[in-house]
């Protein structure tokens, strides 16, 4: 085991160590100590991740100019049969190393930031324990060698998200949000699980790379077998992959499984930054990327469905984002929209020369998005920390009192709006160009969404920092400590310059370096759309005025629908509360109490009692009736005997 493998192992192990220490002995430590333990372990992993990434991209991962996968560790954890087993291990390949970087950096930033943000909260050590648990699970997820390993960590990620959303466990809304997040993703995971079962049964393996091999090689008997059966016009393989994607859609909040993400903002804001913006929610994208060869080569129909779902979600979420007034919810819908971007980028990609740009673009966007979205959330957290509200009503004109926050927030907004040369410009550019090549319709949707994105982000920006005049004597001075400012600055640097990385030469679908196309003429349109969006936002929200309300009332029907998130939540509530609870749960409980218990069990008991009541009078206590029975019996027997033997 060389030093790279060891570092990779340490990256995964350190967070769980700190979780164990904090979880078991956290209540004996002071808040400061527990916070430092958490930060120290995560910062160490970030440094190790940089080391491993450097090693992988430039040293050991590079074989003949191609990035090949490298198994750093693998051992059998649970054996089902000779061919099926759950292996735990660490695989290093372009996407997993990239994810390691993203996760460790964002996570360590969030850890540091939380030192300031969560100062003085109850259960401080528990918060850090949960954060460590989450980091561990997420890291374990991305380095998974085995599809079941991914499922395991997938669930762990879900539960740590549940615990963190429900961190303020005395708040009913937080409880409800935590439950909702877990249950919706669990429902999606059901699809994932069945997908895994189908894949594993048909390929006789649970190993990612074996599955990919067996399902992509031309003439593979497994592939032939798998695609032989079809259902509703799609092969069993496509169905299996779509089921797997369902799991991904749940985690990545794709329509219609997106409903949990906005509510998840009930958690502490740093948590939203880490889990619900940068890392966990992209797990679905990562899952599809991990199985990308299978999708692209053997089930392009499934991939196309993913592309359309992604495109729709991107637009849908962006529209809702324009109407929300809770700044974290705006960010949440923006996250959904951006992840959908990544998703449809994967969807429009294919296998073969010139078709794989979408893959790289998607991963690139994932990478840059992590920086600017985490930054946006942390910035929003700083704002909330200062004004103690999530609603836009209480904000405005904060640019003087929160200078650092203002500046970094602006960078992030420019990045997400796709203004060159900030990070988002490059990745979005790549996505749109690859969409234009294969699915023009999706390209136009993406373009329009891009404009919307610029609009609602700058609506947010102006609404927070401008809109109202700067108050003369504000008590909202930036009271944040270095702990909150340093992460903002570091992420700001990332958001500004991450796009300049030649991403294609590191991450591509087949490991070969790929030059992302860059056409000046092409990028005019997206940039222009973005600038128009910003301009409209400035007109409407740069200063306090009446225009937004007028516009809203002009299209009030549509506005209301969007404001109410197109009533998706209500539909879900109807299905769960009314249909499942009232039409399934309640009848099941009633059936059990009344029919099974009442009719069968108590019924048989009552039959026994009734029978005994019916024959009880024979035991009347009357001597004469007893003797009468006796005599009757004697006579009968005597008669029988005599007749028999005469």
């Amino acid at each position: 085991m060389n030093s790279y493998d060891l570092s990779a192992l340490l990256i995964v192990i350190l967070p769980i160590l700190s979780f164990t220490v904090l979880g078991l002995f956290g209540n004996r430590f002071s808040n400061r100590t527990s916070g430092l333990i958490g930060c120290a372990s995560l910062v160490t992993t970030a440094i190790l991740a940089l080391y491993v990434a450097a090693g992988y991209f430039f040293d050991f991962g590079l074989v003949n100019g191609e990035h090949v996968k490298h198994i750093a560790l693998q051992f059998q954890w649970l054996k089902f049969t000779d061919s099926l087993s759950i292996d735990l291990g660490i695989v290093l390949d372009p996407i997993s190393v990239m994810m390691l970087l993203v996760i460790t950096i964002v996570s360590s930033m969030v850890h540091i930031y939380s030192l300031g943000y969560m100062k003085g909260e109850d259960y401080f050590e528990r918060y850090y324990a949960y954060l460590s648990l989450f980091s561990f699970s997420m890291l374990g997820l991305v380095v998974a060698v085995n599809i079941f390993q991914m499922y395991i960590f997938w669930e762990l990620v879900g539960v740590s998200s549940f615990l963190l959303i429900g961190f303020y466990f005395t708040k009913p809304s937080a409880i409800a949000a935590a439950k909702k997040a877990f249950i919706v993703t669990r429902f999606a995971d059901l699809g994932f699980l069945i997908g895994i079962l189908m894949l594993s049964y048909n390929t006789k393996s649970l190993d990612f790379f074996t599955i990919i091999d067996r399902l992509t090689q031309v003439g593979s008997p497994y592939l032939a077998n798998f695609t032989a059966t079809s259902f509703m016009g799609m092969s069993a393989l496509s169905w299996a992959l779509l089921l797997v994607f369902m799991g991904g859609a749940g985690k990545s909040a794709m329509f219609p499984l997106h409903i949990w993400l906005p509510d998840a903002m009930e958690g502490p804001t740093p948590v939203s930054a880490l889990i619900h913006a940068a890392t966990m929610v992209v797990a679905g994208v990562f899952l599809v990327a991990r199985l990308f060869p299978v999708f692209a080569i053997s089930a392009p129909d499934a991939l196309l469905i993913i592309a359309y779902i992604g495109a729709f979600t991107a637009l849908f979420a962006a529209v809702i984002a324009c109407t929300q007034t809770d700044i974290k919810r705006v960010l949440a819908y923006s996250t959904i929209s951006q992840i959908a971007y990544m998703m449809f980028a994967l969807g429009v990609a294919g296998w073969g020369e010139g078709k794989m740009e979408g893959f790289t673009a998607s991963m690139f966007h994932l990478f840059t998005h992590a920086f600017f979205k985490a930054l946006l959330f942390l910035g929003a957290g700083a704002v909330i920390h200062a004004v103690h509200t999530n609603e836009m009503e209480g904000m405005g004109g904060l640019r003087k009192s929160l200078p650092i926050t203002h500046f970094t927030f602006l960078i992030a907004c420019l990045a997400i709006a796709g203004v060159p040369p900030f990070a988002g410009f490059f990745s979005k550019e790549a996505i749109l160009s690859s969409a234009l090549q294969t699915q023009p319709l999706i390209f136009y949707v993406g373009l329009f969404t891009s404009g919307l994105t610029a609009f609602y982000m700058f609506r947010l920006y102006f609404r927070i920092f401008w809109y109202n005049p700067v108050p003369e004597h504000s008590h909202n001075h930036e009271t944040h400590t270095w702990a909150m400012n340093i992460p903002l600055i570091i992420l700001g640097v990332g958001a500004a310059f991450a796009g300049l990385i030649p991403f294609g030469s590191f991450v591509s679908a087949d490991g070969k370096a790929l030059e992302l196309p860059f056409h000046l003429t092409f990028s005019i349109a997206p940039v222009a759309v973005g600038l128009i969006g910003i301009g409209i936002a400035y007109l409407l929200y740069g200063k306090k005025n009446e225009i937004p309300d007028k516009i809203a009332s002009a299209v009030s029907g549509f506005y209301q629908a969007a404001y109410h998130k197109f009533y998706i939540d209500e539909i879900y509530l109807f299905i769960t509360k009314k249909v499942l609870f009232n039409l399934v749960g309640r009848p099941a409980a009633w059936f059990d109490r009344t029919v099974v218990n009442g009719l069968f069990i108590n019924g048989s008991a009552e039959t026994a009692v009734a029978t005994s009541n019916a024959i009880k009078p024979m035991q009347s206590g009357r001597l004469q009736s007893y003797t009468m029975f006796f005599l009757g019996g004697v006579l009968l027997l005597a008669a029988l005997l005599i007749i028999k033997f005469m």
Binding site: K616, Q619, G621, L623, Q624
Partner: protein, 104 residues
Amino acid sequence: MEQVPLSHILILSSTLFFLGVYGFFSRRNLITMLMSVELILNSVNINFIAFNKYLFPHQLEGIFFTMFIIVVAAAEVSISIAIIINLYRRFKTIDIEDTTTMKY
């Protein structure tokens, strides 16, 4: 000596027996039921003596059994009367229809 046919004697005793049975079933008074039992016992006694006399004149077994039955009947009656009196004290009646506590 010309004898009464055995079957006539048996018919006598069974008549007596079933009279007793009828009395035992239909009477509601414990003492009258006891009397019916006496009738039944006596019909048996007649049978014993008759069989001894007609069929096995060289033995005395029938006579012995009759004697024992008489003695047992005496014992039985004394106990029964004791029970009846006790019952009467408790229920103030010896009507069998009213003393049905030993049921179910």
